[in-house]
């Protein structure tokens, strides 16, 4: 196999993106709909085009995978693991430890429907779990949400950059639709930059030893460490908010959506604009930190209606409410169970909020 074909599934694109971002070690456990990530990496392993990719291992469990990843990350290696909902739950223990030990680590969750085993359709119902820490103890991670196959390929590079800059686990939260969707793309260039890891565990050769531990038995020590983590997350919150604006400049209604929902919303914005409806889209790219400053800007520039579209029972809507802080109307449109919302439903919801109601009788045709 030569260079990968540039018409790929989202999962395959993410795997190649990770390789081009200098992936050194991958550990994973099979779970649909994310298994193409380990499969693609297994096929690429040992190929001369990726000399930095030195470890591929199918682990015996999700727990083993995240802990193998912790070990490799502790040496400063670019390390990734990938999973889907039920496996993401199992990995939470390790993510908590990795956050506490300040390990740079990339965890991919291709969100399927849940709770429990659920099904293999797309959902965004792991939003809370991903953006609130997810495991025990007080911590946050960085959560990034791509909305296209091309962005799936670009995300590992950004994720590793942030993970090493802040020494923290970074989660790429995709969904089953994006993971399985096939699109044209241009793969990113191979990253060449080396990252300094002066904290890594590499054997105490000619230096003071490094200890990566999450235990702080002295209450004052734990207090200091927890405050340090809090401050780090606060800094990340200030500096690393990412979002994309689509036609928000003159919008009366702004749809807030990420991942596959942003794709639907993008199409709806075009269709509704054609009918004279002033609607825009704010697409959070970082779910954590949530781009609340961008929401704030929109409120300050006069937006009084936000419509939050997501594949769950309404989770990100809480973050929008927090950012809006009562200054505008926030409505939630949701779909669950692996189904996608129809553009008609979205259009109707926008229409009912809009200052200039547009007839959306044709919406079904747009949808079809």
């Amino acid at each position: 196999m030569s260079d990968p074909p540039e018409f790929l599934k989202g999962n395959e694109a993410l795997a190649y993106g990770a390789l081009r971002a200098g992936l050194t070690a991958f550990y994973g456990y099979p779970i649909t709909p994310s298994s193409e990530i380990p499969e693609t990496l297994a096929a690429a392993f040992g190929r001369p085009s990726y000399p930095r990719f030195r470890v591929f291992l199918q682990a015996a469990s999700e727990l083993e995978a995240i802990n193998l990843a912790i070990g490799s990350a502790a040496t400063g290696a670019r390390t990734m693991t990938a999973t889907s909902g039920p496996g993401f739950s199992l990995k939470q223990e390790g993510i908590s430890y990795a956050a506490a030990m300040e390990l740079p680590l990339l965890i991919v969750n291709v969100n399927r429907a849940g709770p429990g085993l659920g099904n293999l359709g797309p959902e965004q119902s792991d939003y809370f779990q991903a953006t609130r820490g997810g495991g025990h103890g007080g911590y946050r991670t960085i959560v990034l949400a791509p909305d296209s196959v091309a962005e799936m390929a670009r995300m590992p590079s950004l994720a590793f950059a942030l993970a090493f800059r802040y020494r923290t686990p970074v989660i790429v939260l995709a969904d089953a639709f994006l993971g399985q969707l096939k699109e044209d793309l241009e793969l990113p260039e191979v990253a060449a930059e080396a990252v300094e890891t002066p904290w890594a565990v590499t054997g105490a050769l000619g230096r003071e030893r490094h200890v990566l531990a999450s235990i702080h038995l002295e209450l004052a020590d734990q207090n200091r460490h927890s405050r340090h983590l809090q401050e780090k997350f606060a800094t990340i919150g200030r500096l690393e908010q990412r979002a994309e604006d689509v036609a928000t400049d003159d919008a009366d209604v702004v749809i807030v959506a990420y991942g596959i929902c942003a794709r639907i919303a993008r199409a709806a914005v075009v269709a509704l604009r054609d009918r004279g409806c002033k609607v825009g889209l704010l697409r959070p790219i970082s779910l954590a930190p949530f781009p609340r400053d961008r929401i704030d800007d929109l409120v300050l520039s006069g937006v009084r209606r936000f419509l939050v579209l997501e594949l769950n029972h309404g989770q990100m809507v809480d973050d929008v409410q927090l950012a809006v802080a009562g200054r505008a109307e926030v409505r939630s449109v949701t779909e669950v169970g692996g189904l996608l919302p129809s553009m008609a439903a979205l259009g109707a919801a926008v229409e009912s909020m809009s200052d200039r109601p547009a007839s959306f009788v044709d919406a079904e045709e747009v949808d079809a």
Binding site: T24, A25, Y27, R54, V55, L57, A59, A60, S61, L63, E64, N67, L68, A69, I70, G71, S72, A73, A74, T75, A77, T79, E93, G94, Y97, M101, V201, T202, G203, A204, L205, G206, R209, H210, V211, L212, A213, S214, I215, L217
Partner: protein, 265 residues
Amino acid sequence: MSAVLRYETKLGELPTLTGTPTHYCAGCEHGTLTRLLASAVDARGARERAVLVSSVGCSVLAHEYLNLDAVQAPHGRAPAVMAGIKRVRPDLLVFGVQGDGDAVSIGLLELMNAANRGEPISIFLVNNAIYGMTGGQMAPTTPPGMVTTTTPAGRDVASTGRPIDATKLLLGLEGPSYIRRVFLPVAPTSSPDTFNARGALEGEAAIRHAFETQERGGFSFVEFVSTCWVNWKVSILESKRYAARVLAPLFPPGLYRDRFGVEGR
């Protein structure tokens, strides 16, 4: 006697010991093992390329006492963390200390799979037949009939199963290259108030052999049969006698596998 007497150090300070006072109870084999580990690391001249993985349980603070680069693993996950280090840095000497609850109960999957893959790491299991750190609950290795806080009438094997023999479990796999079980406590002799220290000497040799096996590319495992007088609720010396009487027959010491013949050298 006016001449100044000169003494030559035979055994002394070890660079791999930090000197931090331990949190271990008086007479605990965890402490003894710490010295043995330091000695074996220093004998190999490996202090600057060794990485310790401490686990959860009484070994959780092992990194406070061993002057090495270290990572502290989640409960039961030390073998996975060790393997993750070793896979990207095969030049390092990677080893870990685990207790029986950590390795044989919550972390059995990680232990078995690291062993099955023959990961070139060294795992040292302190089997004191009880959960020490959490206050004396039943462990997977608790002998039948032993009273613990969660088996107040003694361990009932009909309900809780027989003790798990980790050494024999690993022996069922092709992956491990070196498997040894050492009776680590001081052991009673025929004289009532005299004990021998054979376990410590054997233990240090076993650790050296485990390291040698690792550096030849094999998985090594040493189980140290140990004691926990505080949670067994007996005196220190009585715990050693109990271990010799009850644990040694249950977990027979010996060399179980030595694929590279490191002990014959």
